[in-house]
Subunit: 278 residues, 4 copies
C-alpha cells in the first residue's frame, strides 16, 4: 500500500472486489452478497408456509426470480473476471454457485420445481466464505485442530455407539415385538438411537417390564457415555490451546529438559541458552 | 469506620440504606425488598392458576395493588435521595424499577392488564442487585470471565449449529413432507432444533425410513457436538482458575518477565537466576 | 491387635458386631443387613404391581411383617448395646432406623398404610453406611471434595437457571396462552424446565410460530449452558485429583517456590531441604 | 521377513491367513469376512421389515442359508488349522463363532427360528477382531485406560444415581398414583430413569402440581449431575494423555526416583542435582 500500485484494468479491479474481501469495496460486496443470500433463504422458507403461499405466491415467486437472476449474473461475472475461469468453475465454491442458480432454470422445463428447492440450501455455505476473513476464523481453527486431533478417538467412539444401538435395537425387537411399535429391526435401531442419545421422542415406547428394564439400561448407558466425546474433545482442545509452542521445541543441550515455554530463550532449569546467540 | 463520620442529613442516611448494602440497615433493607419481590412474583403466579383465580381473585388483586404501591413508593424514594436522580432514572435498574410499577397503573386506563404481566418478571432481576455483595459474586465473576473468554468460539459454534439445523430442517421438509407433520421449512427447522438439542418433544416425528435415517444422523450429531461448548467452557474455566495463582509469581529482577513455570530456577527470557544462589 | 484385649462383656461384643464393620463378624452382620434391606425393598416394589398384588397379597404381607420384625429387633438391639443410647437414637441413622419400622406398626391402627410406604425408601440409605469401609469410599470422597469446592459456582448457576425458567415460562404463558396447554405460569415454568434441561416430555408443546421461536431459543440455551456445570465440576475434580498435596505445602525457605510434589523432601528448584532434618 | 522362512505346510499357511491379520493374504481374508458379516446383518435386518419379508422371503432365506454355510465352513477351517483347537473352541471368539452358526441349524428342528435371531448380533463383535490391527486401536486403548482409571468413581456415581431413581420413583408413585400412569413402583422408577437421564419419552407425565414440582427437581438434578461422569472421564483422559511424556524423564542418579516435575533441577526426594552442573 506504501508503493504506488500499477494501473489496473477494469477486469482486474472487478476480480479484487469479487474474490478478495480485504479491500473496503470487496468487503462491502461480500456483505451485500451475504444479505442477498439470507433474504433469498427467507423467501424460500416463507414460500413453504402454506398460509403465506396461498396469499403471496406471486410476489414471492417474483422475488425468487430476482434472486436467481442476481446470483446468475454474479456467477457469470466471477467466470469473466477470474484469471483461471476453469479452475474456479470446478472448485467447491464454483460448483455451489452454479447449483444455486440451476434449479430455478430447470424448473422452466420440468414442473418438479419444489423438489429442487433443497439445492438452494447450499447457498448458505457462502456464509463461511464471507466470514473467512473475520477474526472469528482463528477461533474456528482452534476448534478444527481439536476436532482433527480427536478424529481417531471419535471414530472408535462412533463405532462403539453403532455396535451398541444395533445390539440393543435387535434385543428390543425380540423382547417387545411388532405389536408394541417395534415393527422391524431398522425401526428398533432407530428407537435405540433416539433413546441412547437421550432425545426420547416417545413415538415408540417399551410396554413390557423386560423391555422397560432394557430401556433403563440403554438410557443410563447413553447418559454416562456422553462423557466420552466430551472428555476427548475437552482434552484435545486444552492441549490445542497450550499447543502450538510444544511442537516447535527441542530439548535443552545441557540438562536435556524437553518442554519449554513458547518464547523461552534460556532453559528454566539450568539457565543455558536454548539456541546459539547471534 | 475508624474516623468519626460527619453528621449526615436524613436524605444522605436514606441514600446509604437504599443504595448501599454494606451497612446493617442497608442489608436489612435489601433483604426485605428481595422478600417483597419474591412474594409479588408468587402472587402473580398464583393469580394465573385458573382454579385459584376463581376463588381468590379479590384478595390476590389486593395484594397485587399493595406490592405495586410499595414498589412505587420505593421508586420515588430512590429518586428523592439519589444525589444524581436523572442518572439513576436512566440507568438499567432505574428503568427496571419504573417498568415494575407502570403496568399496574396503565391497567387502570386500559383493560389489557393481563398482557402487561410479563413486565413484572423483570423485577426478578433485582435479585442479582441484592446478591451483589455476597461472596457468591466472586464465583459468578469466574464464570463470566470464562464465558467472555470463550465468546468467539461459542459464536463459531452457534453459527455452525444454525447452518446445521437449516440444512437438516430443509432436507427433512423435502424428505417427509407436509402430510407427516413437517408442514413448512420453519416448522422443520424447529423440529431439527428439538432433535439436535436432544430435547425430543415427539409432537413431530419422522415416518419414512429415509426420514428416520436422516433423524438418526441429526441425533448422533447433536449427541456428539454437545462436547464442543462443554470443551470450550471447561478449557476456559480451568485457565481462569489457574490464572490467579500464576500472577502471584515474582518478576525476573533483570528483565522483569512476570510469569514463569512453577519450578523455574532461571528466567526463560534472559537466563538470570530467579533467586539468590546459596 | 498386638496387645491382648481385655475380656469383653456380651454387650460390648454385640456393640462391635453391630456398629463396627472392620471385624469379620461385623462385616458379615452388615452384609446380611444390606441383603435384608434390599429384599424388603423388592417386596415393597412387587407389592405395588397390581397383577402381583392380586395373586400374592398374603405371602407378600407376611414377608413385609417378617422384615419389619427383623428391623424392629435390630433397632432395639442397637439401643441396648450402644454405650450412649440417646445419642444414637437422635443421630441421623437412629432416626432412619426408627422410621423404617414405625409405618408398619402405625398401619395396625390407621388403615392408610399405603401412604406410609414412602418412609421405607429411607432404609435404602443404610446401603451407604454399609459401604462406608469399602475402598470405593475414598473415590466417593474425591467426588464430594470436588462437589463442595464447586458449591458456590453451582449455586450461582442454579440461580441463573431459575431466573431463566421463570422469565421464559412467563413469556411462553403470555405468547401461547391457556388454550395451547400453557394453563398457568407455574405450568409454563414446569414446561420451561422440561425444555431447558432437554428432557422434552412433549405433553405440552408450543403451537404458534412465535412460541416455537421462543422454544428454539430455550432449547439452544439449555443445550449450551449444560457446559457450565460440567466445566465447573471437571475443573474442580482435576484440581482435587492433583490437590491433596497442595494444601499440605509450605513454600521453600530459600527460593520461595510455593508448590511442591506431595512427597517432596527437597525443593526441586534449588535443592534446599523443605523441612529440618531429624 | 529378511530371513528365508522354512517351507510351510498347507495347514500352517491357512493358520496364518485365518488367524493373523499382518500378512497381505490375512488382511484380505479379514476384510472379506467383515463384509460377509455386515452383509448377513443387513439381510437379517431387511428380513425383519414386514413389507420386504412378504415380497422377498425366499431370496432372503437363501442368502441367510448361504451366509450360515459360509460361517460354518469358516468355523470348521478354524478348528482344523488351529494348533490348539480346544483352546480356540473355548475362547471368547470361538464361542461367538459357534453361536453365529448354531441358530440356523437349530431352526431346522424347532420352528422358533425368529427368537434365535438375537444370537446373530454377536457376529458383529467380529468387527473388533478385524479392527484389532488398525492404528485406531491405540486410540481405543487410551479410552480404555481412562475408563479403567475412572471405574471406581463411576461405580460410586451409578450407585448414587440408582438410589436417587429409587427414592424419586417411589415418591412419584405415592404423589401421582396409578390413575396418572404411575401404575407401580417399578414403573415409577422406570419413569424416574427416563426423566433423570433427560430422555423424556412423555408416555408417562406428572399431572398434579406436587408431582410436577418433584419432576422439576428430578430434571434439574439430572441436568446437573451429568457433569459428574463427564468430569471424571475428562480428568482421567487428560491424565492418561499426559501420562506418556512424564514416564520419559530420566531417573535420579542417586536415589532412582523416576518421575520429576517438568523443570525440576534437583530431585525432590534426595536433593541431588538432576543434571551435571556447568
Amino acid at each position: 500500500m506504501t508503493q504506488p500500485s500499477p494501473p489496473q484494468s477494469w477486469r482486474e479491479r472487478l476480480y479484487i472486489i469479487i474474490f478478495h474481501a480485504d479491500t473496503p469495496a470487496g468487503k462491502r460486496f461480500d456483505e451485500i452478497l451475504l444479505l442477498a443470500i439470507l433474504a433469498s433463504l427467507v423467501v424460500v422458507m416463507l414460500d413453504s408456509v402454506n398460509s403465506i403461499h396461498q396469499h403471496y405466491a406471486l410476489p414471492l415467486a417474483g422475488l425468487e426470480w430476482g434472486f436467481t437472476a442476481l446470483f446468475a449474473a454474479e456467477y457469470l461475472l466471477r467466470l469473466y473476471c477470474s484469471p483461471k475461469p476453469l479452475r474456479y468453475a470446478f472448485s467447491f465454491y464454483g460448483v455451489v454457485d452454479l447449483l444455486a442458480v440451476l434449479p430455478a432454470l430447470l424448473a422452466l422445463v420440468y414442473t418438479g420445481a419444489q423438489y429442487l428447492m433443497i439445492v438452494r440450501v447450499l447457498r448458505m455455505l457462502r456464509v463461511f466464505r464471507i466470514l473467512k476473513l473475520t477474526p472469528y476464523l482463528s477461533q474456528a481453527n482452534f476448534l478444527l485442530v481439536a476436532l482433527r486431533g480427536s478424529q481417531q478417538k471419535i471414530t472408535v467412539f462412533l463405532l462403539t455407539v453403532s455396535t451398541l444401538v444395533i445390539v440393543f435395537g435387535t434385543l428390543m425387537y425380540v423382547v417387545e415385538g411388532p405389536h408394541h411399535g417395534f415393527t422391524s429391526i431398522p425401526t428398533s435401531i432407530y428407537w435405540a438411537v433416539v433413546t441412547l442419545t437421550t432425545v426420547g421422542f416417545g413415538d415408540i415406547t417399551p410396554k413390557t417390564p423386560l423391555g422397560q428394564g432394557l430401556a433403563t439400561l440403554i438410557m443410563i448407558t447413553g447418559y454416562s457415555i456422553i462423557a466420552v466425546p466430551t472428555g476427548i474433545f475437552t482434552a484435545e482442545l486444552a492441549s490445542a490451546m497450550r499447543g502450538g509452542s510444544e511442537s516447535l521445541q527441542h530439548a535443552c543441550p545441557t540438562c536435556g529438559k524437553a518442554e519449554h515455554e513458547a518464547s523461552a530463550g534460556f532453559c528454566s532449569r539450568c539457565g543455558h541458552p536454548l539456541f546459539p546467540k547471534l
